[in-house]
């Protein structure tokens, strides 16, 4: 069809992203949805990770991606649920650009329940790419093939969380093979999705302590004000007058806690604590995710 012919960029074409063209097994053509804008490919960061992310992984992805995307770096990922989807989402909501590389034909959305996100990516000037045409179904072998495009498009790859044998490790190893930088977010060793990351760190991946480390690599250090990771910007006395509320914030600054743990630490009955937590939530100081509370 005519429209399909339009939405494809061959490897010989000058519009083909040069960074991707450098890799040995670059795809012959890229099908796409959205508006092809070569500037999109200038600075790209691949963000990959496990499908079974923890709330820690989600928070770290959101935090780093939103800052990096805001600085103008395009976030590339694989549109899978888990870290991939969170990375796309964070980029979109930070007002940044993002590229989703699909493991299936360009005309299908996989997984289809993320159709909303798919649309958002396109609406915000992002791109959806695939090397497969039409309605080619996703298969076991298309996922690792897809990963080479994710790694190939980007100057660096960030791995947030990855279990043993995770697809994110394939992407990271490809990035290494192509001579690109690999960043890894340190994980608690107790986490089931930390082994892959630990392995990468052992093999020489660069530890990421926050979005600044990545921005520095891209030479964008100056473009954003120094932001500290999740550190509370709470000036006691302005909003939080209550002593209990202060204590809660102090505890949560150290680590995320379940409300029961908080109750035990502060030795406050849940009735009173619940009220204080509600107030802090309404004020926007803390937030809750899967039963645990975080300082915002």
């Amino acid at each position: 069809m005519l429209t399909e012919e339009k939405n494809v960029v061959k490897k010989e074409n000058s519009r083909y992203p040069s960074l991707l063209g450098d890799i040995s097994d670059a795809p012959k053509q890229l099908y796409y949805k959205g508006t092809w804008n070569l500037e999109l490919f200038d600075t790209c960061l691949a963000v990959v990770g496990t499908r079974r992310m923890t709330s820690y992984g989600k928070r770290m992805t959101e935090d780093i991606v939103s800052k990096v995307a805001r600085a103008g770096i395009t976030i590339v990922s694989g549109f899978m649920y888990g870290i991939d989807a969170v990375a796309h989402k964070a980029a979109v909501s930070a007002g940044g650009k993002t590229i989703a590389v699909m493991p299936c034909g360009i005309d299908i959305v996989h997984p289809e329940y993320q159709a909303d996100l798919y649309q958002e990516i396109l609406d915000t000037g992002g791109l959806v790419l695939s090397e497969y045409e039409g309605t080619h179904p996703p298969a076991n072998w298309t996922f690792p093939r897809r990963n080479r495009i994710v790694a190939g498009l980007s100057q660096a790859t960030l791995v947030v969380e990855a279990g043993e044998g995770s697809g994110a490790l394939i992407t990271a190893n490809l990035a290494k093979k192509y001579g690109r930088k690999v960043f890894a977010v340190p994980n608690p060793l107790t986490s089931a999705v930390s082994q892959g990351v630990t392995q990468l760190l052992r093999e020489g991946a660069t530890v990421v302590g926050g979005a600044e480390d990545i921005l520095q690599y891209y030479g964008l250090r100056d473009r954003v004000p120094k932001l500290s990771l999740g550190a509370p910007k709470l000036s006691l006395g302005t909003g939080v007058q209550d002593e209990l509320e202060q204590n809660i914030v102090e505890q949560l600054e150290k680590q995320s806690l379940h409300v029961d743990e908080l109750a035990r630490r502060l030795e406050v009955l849940p009735a009173k604590l619940g009220a204080a937590i509600s107030m802090l939530q309404l004020e926007g100081y803390i937030k809750e995710e899967q039963g645990r509370y975080y300082v915002n």
Binding site: P111, G163, R264, G274, S278, Q281
Partner: protein, 511 residues
């Protein structure tokens, strides 16, 4: 010769007088027929009555016997007519007078003894209403009937005994009226003090019990949801006399009162397995029987593994949860059973159960989680006031540190407080058809739940932030009302409303 004995038939919670007319005629071939829409059990009573009379050393008349159960157009069911039929037939042989102001009920054994029969309370209540002086019931069912004051209850052991009583040869001691001893809640399997940690969940359960609110507990396997629900049985307030009678009546109709059992004094705690059928839960059958929802009347209906119940079964709960009564309509009859229960539901956060687990990884895809959650519909979940998360408890923490658990209050102490709050509610709703905060409709909320200005501000802010539905909005006020009651406050203050917000339904998915 014609003899008339009186008994009852029940249609749902309503009883209806039934005349058992026994005609013993010397003309015609010997035989035994029962007419008047008898069901199988009533038909079979022919054989039981014949054998029981024979085995009681009383001659069975070799005549044409016709038994009519009047009114003839109402279906009669069950084995309760054995005794009245036998009394009628024996009258033709023994020539005694059948007392006019008496009701009879009882199933016969072939040897002439009487067995425990359901419906004794219902008959005693009917006797009192309609001015009958005596009720004759099986001895094993007599305690059940004796809770009705102002009616002479005779517990009959066997046919010989009743025959000689009616002949005036022997006296039967009346079963004394026993004022119902309201012992309160059943002995729960667990005491609240035994539940380690779970401070928030315990608090939520206390609120639920105090205001009669429905509650949903979400947590990974083994986190203690079932234990908490079982412990809940121990903190429920006592039944009052009226409630107790209602519950006993229902149980008597369903045949759930054990032999020699009396009044039901503890709040029912029903925990049907998730394989329960729609009829089993709601009630029904050809002759509509009360289902689990009605058997949980004035008590708790605990649905463990909430999401494993068939969707049609779950959705059928919507109307009973809202209305507190249920009309079962069948082609032949329709009956209404009360079902004012507290719904306690528990479920896992996802199919594998470990979505919110701090250590174990969840292996479910977002789609599976979504599908799992969809099994209970929004409208149903919307009718559950309190939503809480029951976290995994680190046993190690409690073994290392005995003081770690904050709330070690016993069920007894909690119950005292809850009873006080329930009394407050009774006084508050004295002129209304409701008993507890959870039953408040919007008009009641406006009238009885005055919010302080600050509380109102918090609520409207939360409504915006959490996008509360109109129903959730009202629910928050209801919960806050109960929290304020527990605190002994007349009006709902800021802190009460803030705490109530903790029990709103939360999203547990990754977005």
């Amino acid at each position: 010769m014609l003899f008339k004995v009186q008994s009852i038939a029940n249609s749902g919670m309503e009883a209806l007088g039934v005349d058992i007319e026994v005609s013993v005629s010397s003309r015609g071939l010997p035989g035994f027929d029962i007419v008047g829409l008898p069901d199988k059990a009533v038909q079979e009573s022919k054989e039981r009555v014949r054998a029981a009379i024979g085995n009681s050393k009383i001659e069975f008349p070799q005549r044409k016997i016709t038994v009519n159960l009047a009114p003839a157009d109402i279906p009669k069911e069950g084995s309760l007519y054995d005794l009245p039929i036998a009394v009628g037939i024996m009258a033709s042989v023994l020539q005694y007078e059948i007392p006019k102001d008496s009701l009879f009920l009882g199933e016969l054994s072939l040897d002439g003894t009487l067995r425990h029969t359901k419906g004794a309370v219902l008959m005693a209540l009917f006797a009192k209403e309609q001015g009958f002086c005596n009720v004759f019931v099986p001895a094993e069912s007599a305690n059940e009937a004796a809770i009705v004051q102002g009616v002479n209850v005779y517990g009959i052991e066997n046919l010989e005994q009743i025959a000689s009583f009616l002949l005036g040869n022997q006296k039967i001691k009346k079963v004394a009226y026993s004022a119902p001893l309201l012992t309160g809640a059943a002995d729960a399997e667990f005491d609240m003090a035994e539940v380690l940690g779970q401070e928030t969940a315990k608090r939520a359960i206390e609120i639920a019990a105090a205001g009669g609110h429905n509650i949903l507990m979400i947590g990974s396997p083994g986190s203690g949801k079932t234990m908490l629900a079982r412990a809940l049985a121990g903190i429920l307030p006592k039944l009052n006399e009226e409630e107790s009678l209602e519950v006993t009546k229902l149980y008597s109709i369903a045949g759930n009162i054990p032999p020699r059992g009396s009044l039901i004094t503890a709040r029912p705690f029903r925990a049907p397995h998730h394989s329960v059928s729609l009829i089993g839960l709601i009630g029904g059958g050809q002759k509509p029987q009360p289902g689990e929802v009605s058997l949980a009347h004035r008590g708790v209906l605990f649905l463990d593994e909430f999401n494993e119940f068939p969707r049609s079964v779950l959705e059928s709960l919507r109307q009973p949860v809202e209305d507190g009564m249920l009309t079962i309509a069948r082609s032949r009859q329709r009956v209404t059973y009360p079902c004012r229960f507290m719904l306690v539901a528990s479920c896992n956060p996802c199919p594998c159960g470990y979505l919110t687990h701090p250590k174990k990884a969840c292996v479910c895809t977002p789609r599976e989680v979504k599908k799992y959650k969809k099994r209970a519909s929004g409208p149903l979940l919307d009718r559950i006031d309190l939503h809480i998360e029951v976290p995994e408890v680190d046993i190690q923490e409690f073994q290392d540190n005995q003081k770690a658990s904050l709330s070690k209050e016993s069920s007894f102490a909690m119950r005292e407080r809850i009873e006080k709050v329930r009394k407050m509610q009774e006084v508050r709703f004295a002129g209304e058809p409701i008993h507890a905060n959870a039953e408040m409709k919007n008009s009641h909320i406006k009238k009885y739940s005055l919010l302080s200005k600050e509380a109102e501000q918090i609520l409207s802010r939360a409504a915006l932030l959490y996008q509360l539905s109109a129903r959730s909005f009202m629910k928050m006020i209801k919960i806050a009302r109960t929290i304020a009651d527990l605190a002994g406050a007349e009006h709902i203050e800021k802190s009460h409303m803030a705490e109530a917000l903790q029990y709103r339904p939360k999203a547990y998915e990754f977005d």
